[in-house]
Amino acid sequence: MSQQRKAVALISGGLDSLLAARAIMEQGVHVEGLNFFTGFCVEGHTHAIRKKDKQKPKRNNALWVAEQLGIKLHIIDVIEPYKDVLLNPKHGYGANLNPCLDCKCFMVGKALQWMREHDFDFIITGEVVGQRPKSQRKETMPIVQEESGAGDLLVRPLCAKKLPPTLPEREGWIDREKLFEFSGRSRKPQFALAEEYGFKDYATPAGGCCFLTDENYSRKLADMWQARSDRDYELDDIMLLKVGRHIRPRPHFKLIVGREEGENKFLEGYRKRFVHLRSVSHTGPLVLIDGKATEDDLNLAAQITARFGHGKNAEQVEIEANYMDGSSRLLQVKPLSADEMQTEWYI
């Protein structure tokens, strides 16, 4: 009997990578999944934070996909090495701060490394020619092969017949004839194939696999970089951009205002790292100050904090300001009115 070949599949949690892995498993290949966590992945986070979403069942789509396929899934933390991809993308950004082409080269490169370390034979992705205007075009397919170093060990089962035969096809490890020739933006062939394989309930996230494709999120990230004059970031920084209202009334500081109980709770975890405000005379949100606020600024921040609490129409609201050294003081302020809240403050 010929040797059973082993393939490592990039699993994002979406439909395409699910189908691509399954198509190769159909050919008797042993498949295991890899999922990369960049810190910007949509998976779970905000659902976990916001109370109103707590009733909905939460699932990690990459784990769900692996379970549907009956394969092992290895989740790899790439937060640190991903910084260079995001900060210095050779091929630039997409519509927002998403460096998709560089990101794909990076992930396939990491998969190649994993493949070698674990004695696997080739790599699978769910890419489809022409599906994304910038990163999944006929011209970008060879770029990913070349810059990742994977060359013709990279198989894209969903559009393989549109591309030159790869090594696994030429060597007969897999049968090219049983692969597909999907192309373009239509998702109909994928839906039909999902039906054929009996997959239901798969995730079809509108914004793709990460927050970097989200316009609002990218704006907050760009704002953070500009305000700090430094683009380095920590996981906590990019997590906080997913939570609360972000308001920058002055260039040198911004406020992160919890929108509901779940977010307030999450922000509480950061109390020791930020000066924070909370109304004591009325119920209201927890507000973190990111940046260096002067005494005058603190007063303005307290007025804004009061604006988002139940005392917003009161003559005076008592706000407690807590410093990082554990000390605190009370401020009596008049909440800002709706008119005084300038729209350009909202990030």
Binding site: K54, K58, R59, L63, E67, K72
Partner: protein, 75 residues
Amino acid sequence: MVYLDARRLLCPMPVIRTQDTVNKLAPGEQVEIVCTDPGALNDIPAWCRINGHKVINTQQQDDEIIIIIEVGDGT
């Protein structure tokens, strides 16, 4: 029993930490994971099912979730 503090981490970080801990252990050893993201209640058992490990117990105390798992033999 190995103890893993995954409090305040958001999914999938608790799963990644669990995975990295389990990879260093032998079959039969147990890990107690404490986390605060309720997503872990789904994700850690799902990860265990996929990778052949056993969930021994899960419990929720106030805002903390405690999951005890036993390392499988990798099949």
